[in-house]
């Protein structure tokens, strides 16, 4: 498999997803089920990708679990994208200091 082909395929799909509605659809989608499906997709797919992957990404699973909990609590309290990402990293860095 060629890396440049991976880039080409993902770039083409990414752009088509974004440009198609802007160019073709000038009205809102009316099909309620389709609207609802698209509305839930990002949350579901990101959740599926986050767990258990976050626990498996770190050297020690407990560190990943602590980062997951810290990230959820901070995001719940309205922490920004940037802040949540950085704090998760810090939690792993500090906790692995004790765990390993």
């Amino acid at each position: 498999m060629n890396i440049w082909m991976y880039i080409l395929v993902s770039a083409a799909v990414s752009y088509l997803i974004r440009v198609t509605p802007l160019v073709l659809i000038r009205r809102e989608i009316t099909n309620r089920t389709l609207r609802s499906f698209l509305y839930y997709v990002p949350y579901v797919t990101l959740a599926v990708m986050t767990f258990p992957a976050i626990v498996e990404a770190t050297q020690h699973p407990i560190a990943g679990l602590l980062a997951l909990i810290a990230g959820i609590v901070l995001a719940w309290k309205g922490g920004s994208l940037f802040l949540v990402a950085v704090i998760c990293c810090l939690v792993v860095f500090v906790s692995e200091w004790f765990l390993i």
Partner: protein, 245 residues
């Protein structure tokens, strides 16, 4: 149309550039961790940067790097990119309502290039109609941050100690949490769907019967099943969906 007439394109661009600065800083840190994933998948710093500059999608790119790492087929990459970036379809639909109906095609095609959670977020928050130049200003800040961060993630990632790499590798998941959790807090259906997704994803990773199926395909199946079930059981009201991200 009045809103566009009042503010010149230059003013809108500068305002977008200003609002895009914090996005650029956040992107730099996040794309750095993305570069680590790219490196694991065998991408050079230049290739990873091109992937970032042509995709502008954290979760989508992460999926591509994960699939590339295991030598997945191009079809798998195409479908995963479609699934992980499906939210941009909805955002683009929403943004098409925000533009003046007579906005020329070239503007629509340029804006489409960088519809991300954040650039979309600030573009849709502009009062009245969206002047494309506002989005161009934000893009001018956000895109370099995203590209340079990815490049350095690959280039400098290798000289970082394992402990630091381990810590940075959760940055992306932290970002995903920042996207999922606030709407889950305010919407019980999203909360239920997210918790169910966690559980199903965990079960799928442990279930021996599914051991032969790639994680990318598992993600597609779980996403379609859970999101479709939620859509049928709890269809969103008319005010939700396209108007919110």
């Amino acid at each position: 149309m009045e809103a566009i007439a009042i503010d010149s394109n230059r003013t809108c661009f500068q305002r977008g550039l200003r609002d895009g600065m914090p996005i650029a800083l956040g992107y730099f840190a996040v794309s750095f961790t993305l570069g680590l994933a790219a490196k694991n998948a065998g991408f050079s710093a230049f290739q990873a940067m091109i992937e970032s500059l042509t995709n502008n999608a954290s979760a989508g790119e992460y999926a591509v790097f994960s699939l590339a790492a295991v030598g997945a087929s191009y079809w798998e990459v195409a479908i995963m990119t479609l699934v992980t970036n499906a939210r941009y379809l909805l955002m683009a639909c929403s943004l098409s309502q925000k533009l003046a109906p007579d906005t020329p095609l070239r503007h629509r095609m340029l804006i489409a290039y960088d519809i991300t959670d954040e650039v979309f977020g600030i573009s849709i928050a502009v009062p009245g109609r969206l002047n494309p130049w506002y989005t161009y200003g934000a893009m001018s800040a956000a895109i370099p941050g995203w590209g340079v961060g990815t490049f350095l993630g690959v280039a400098v990632g290798s000289i970082l100690p394992l402990r630091l790499v381990s810590a940075l590798s959760v940055g992306l998941y932290g970002m995903f949490l920042a996207i999922i959790v606030p709407p889950a807090r305010d919407n019980r259906v999203i909360l239920g769907a997210a918790l169910l997704s966690f559980a199903a994803s965990f079960a799928a990773s442990r279930w021996q019967l599914l051991a032969g199926i790639s994680s990318g395909v598992k993600t597609i199946i779980l996403t379609v099943v859970i999101a479709l079930a939620a859509a049928i059981l709890f269809p969103v009201k008319d005010e939700e969906g396209a108007s919110k991200s």
